[in-house]
Amino acid sequence: MALSKRIIKETERLLADPAPGIQATPHEDNLRYFDVVMSGPSQSPFEGGSFKLELFLPDDYPMTAPKVRFLTKIYHPNIDRLGRICLDILKDKWSPALQIRTVLLSIQALLSAPNPDDPLANDVAQHWKDNEKDAINTAKEWTAKYAHE
């Protein structure tokens, strides 16, 4: 299927002018499927880590949101054990005015601001609420263990 003009334009811009700390590269054999590498934001427990994600633009994009998940293990209350992300703009708050770039920037912002009140990983969220300092330490350990290559 031919790619829409919109996807081509977005891809060109992502490659020519990448957002800071985010690298998105389309697969050669499937231009709707991107490998993403995201740097952990500074001042967050993920600082210094390099996180792999995958992103796919479904048939009806931009009428529906891209599908995104983490491939690198990460200790975060809004990201589950399979890397699935709980973020409103990926679900009911999606708007065709948003883009791949805005989605990835929002995910990066979610790393800076975990939200244990809207959890996907319940055990992690509970840890975050009970003892934030300890949870942050675990997140740092996981970053050192899994997100350094």
């Binding site: 499927y33 995958e54 633009l57 399979l82 699935r84």
Partner: protein, 137 residues
């Protein structure tokens, strides 16, 4: 149609499996909930009524390699069963003997495979003598 990459396809299948399929006569789920590549799955088939399999619960494993869904999953019975499409000593579902595996298509899912095996139990395997309930390969 856009070609859905393996991992996102398996996530769709996982979500469908978690919600429960149809009347619950077949089901499947991840063997290891931490397996980020979602390669190994457990399946269950409830023996169809009016057959020798009635009231039996069969456990299977399904392995989806890196080429799935371009290539078919590898399916094996854990529970012992006597069916023409199942190898008598290993429990492996022989791809050449199950139509959906022999003529695999990218649109087929783990649900397709489990449903077809259950259909075999109700047809070609309806009256075949079966090993004792609860025995395993």
């Amino acid at each position: 149609m856009a070609k859905v990459p393996r991992n996102f396809r398996l996530l769709e299948e996982l979500e469908k499996g978690e919600k429960g399929i149809g009347d619950g006569t077949i089901s499947y789920g991840l063997a290891n909930p931490d397996d980020i590549f979602m390669s190994d799955w457990n399946g269950t088939i409830l023996g169809p009524p009016h057959s020798v399999h009635e009231n039996r619960i069969y456990s299977l494993t399904l392995h989806c390699d890196q080429n799935y869904p371009d290539s078919a999953p590898i399916v094996k019975f854990i529970s012992k069963v006597n069916l023409p499409c199942v190898h008598a000593s290993t429990g492996r579902v022989e791809p050449s003997k199950l139509d959906c595996l022999a003529r695999w298509s990218r649109n087929y899912t783990m649900e397709t495979v489990l449903s077809e095996i259950r259909r075999e139990m109700a047809t070609s395997g309806r009256k075949l003598p079966q090993p004792p309930e609860g025995s395993t390969f």
